[in-house]
Point group: C2
Chain length 384, copies 2
């Protein structure tokens, strides 16, 4: 198979590795910037290349609604459509359907929901989602899963987890059928990844991991249903369970996570891939990740501050502009401000992952990550 994973160094559960894809290798641990609608908000694909992004993420639910996965396919697939030649992963829409709350009903067949754009009635099944993800043509595609709130009790979590397993089997069958028929998908060589559910219930996570691993030799494993309302402690404890339960020779992708500190804690618990809208969404709100914690760029005391956002950062915003200038852009509603903070925050996470990887390769990971967390949490300048 054209997807391979090679572990190059470890420290406890943490690993440095390479995830090989048909569109190039992805050095792990890696943060994947999120381009929900086929664009990482406020950034240009050239920015992502310049920042050294490896794999990026898009969303099947959103691209199905706009512009339509048929359009993406007609235009040669998502890579060509959005001008990104590196690897892409699509999430299936399970999380988006979950987010629609009262606008959706889930049954064994699939999910019915109202489009958040025009209110039209829509239905997703495991089969239709795989069809959409084939049309979009990402390299790595996620199964359609049943996501539930993080505080769900064991019976509800078991119900959703077991349904997700049955949906995985259906996704796998449909994927195999479409590959066999070779429907001329723009990306013929795709990997379908399962998503491990089970909430914060260790036993459910272990059962699901065993069931998934028994079904196929997957190219990697998604870990879903975390960072959806449970406590950080519960998330970290669950990650410890998942690390034990999943095969060690495949990449683990913790979906929708996260904040800088979550990435470090996740890597310490054996996670290889992450994605999150936080760096761009928070950037658009004026929040800046720095090695000393978060800042809000709109702070009045930045009005004439000549320093860069983060004096330890070498991103294209920090190399060129002062806090005073970026604050001015935000106060004046200038788009460049949104772009510069998105750029800085995404660069911050990509750079953090590179540092963690270096520390793993040079066998200094434990000390490095402990020091980093301590400095980050000590934040001398709290967010106002």
């Amino acid at each position: 198979m054209s997807f391979r994973f090679r572990v190059e160094a470890t420290a406890g559960a943490a690993r440095a590795g390479v995830f090989f894809t048909p569109r190039g290798p992805v050095e792990t641990p890696a943060f994947m910037p999120v381009g929900t609608l086929g664009t990482v908000k406020a950034l240009d694909p050239d920015d992502l290349t310049a920042m050294g992004a490896g794999m990026i993420l898009a969303n099947a639910y959103h691209l199905h609604l706009r512009p339509g996965d048929d359009i993406v396919r007609a235009l040669g697939g998502l890579h060509r459509f959005m001008g990104w030649s590196g690897p892409i992963l699509t999430d299936s829409g399970g999380f988006q359907v979950f987010s629609l709350a009262t606008l959706r009903t889930v049954s064994e067949d699939g999910a019915e929901f109202q489009s958040h754009i025009d209110g039209s009635r829509r239905a997703f099944t495991p089969e239709s989602v795989i069809h959409i993800e084939r049309n979009i043509g990402a390299d790595v595609i996620m199964q359609f899963d049943h996501v539930i709130p993080g505080q769900s009790d064991a019976p509800a979590a078991r119900d959703a987890s077991e349904r997700s397993l049955r949906w995985l089997a259906r996704c796998r069958r449909e994927f195999a059928r479409l590959v066999r028929e070779d429907r001329g998908a723009p990306t013929p060589d795709q990997a379908l990844l399962p998503i491990l559910q089970g909430g914060v219930h260790a036993e459910l996570r272990r059962e699901a991991a065993a069931a998934i691993a028994g079904m196929d030799d997957w190219a990697g494993y998604g870990v879903g249903g975390l960072s959806v309302g449970e406590s950080k402690a519960a998330m970290y404890a669950t990650l410890d369970v998942v690390d034990e339960a999943l095969p060690r020779d495949r990449p683990r992708y913790l979906m929708g996570v996260g904040f800088p500190e979550d990435l470090v804690e996740g890597v310490r618990r054996g996670v290889d891939l992450f994605d999150c809208v936080a760096p761009t969404r928070m950037g658009r709100n004026g929040t800046v990740f720095t090695s000393d914690g978060r800042l809000n760029v709109k702070r009045a005391d930045f009005r004439a501050d000549p320093r860069p956002l983060d004096e330890r950062c070498d991103c294209a915003a920090c190399r060129r502009f002062s806090r005073a200038y970026i604050r001015h852009l935000f106060i004046a509603d200038e788009m460049l401000g949104l772009r510069l903070l998105s750029l800085h925050n995404v660069h911050f996470l990509l750079s953090l992952m590179r540092d963690l990887r270096s520390a793993l390769l040079s066998a200094t990971f434990d000390g490095w990550s402990r020091d980093w967390l301590e400095r980050y949490h000590s934040r001398p300048a709290p967010v106002p």
Copy 2:
């Protein structure tokens, strides 16, 4: 003096030249992208460099209100503040005060107005505006002038034109005083430019041109009070008068103009410098300049159109993206759409100016500009 202008080729009134400034030469004819608040909207300074922008424009009125010209000065001047090392020109705010309509009163001393941001009472005098422009530190700074509507009758136009002349004398005195005192302006070497007013009244334009030229040996001449409501025919006729009336050995800057066709018509009438918010403002509305006229990128028939915005364009949008993709970005309210159209439209004008210059240097200007206008106006696809 460190500002010089060299004419390299002519064709009738049209000229190709070089405007030398302390921050580098500007090849003319030139379009200056507008960065009102110290940023060309939706673009990064690196984009402007990549597109080959020469001089750019900012606005004293706007920067005085936000972030404050004192802040810009404290941060080392506008070049450093906004990360642009090429030449910058600041408009004085005469046009902005004019645009405030009912919120302002003009007297011999200056203009009183209400800030469009917080409604606070403000007053500009020729002296205070020069002080502001010294603080901002652009290379070329415009006098404070009295702008009136394009349809104004001769008595009103005479009144405003003569007041602008008196204000020019006051600007010149204050500028000389500040230079003499060397108040440590971030850009010690600035050129103050007069602005020719007089509406569409040929005699007033001639009188004002003579009065201005009699006052000093200016580094260049602004032409104001056009593209403010008068007909295109009246604007072009006035430009013919202005071309005869102004010295030929200095650059002429037609303020606030314009659209692609206006640039070509202006160059044919002896104009060397232009600025206008149209390329970025129209870009943010989805309107695209092409060599066949304007397009609106939101058109339904672009939904699956794989072609670039303009097949004759080599900008960073047209090299990489389809109409279908950019339409999708607009429909989905993605910022990259605003950036790509702003980029395309600014590139279109910069590239048009380069083509006009080449045609002048190769003595093919008359035919080239006639053909260009014919093609542009034939627009097979009118704006819906």
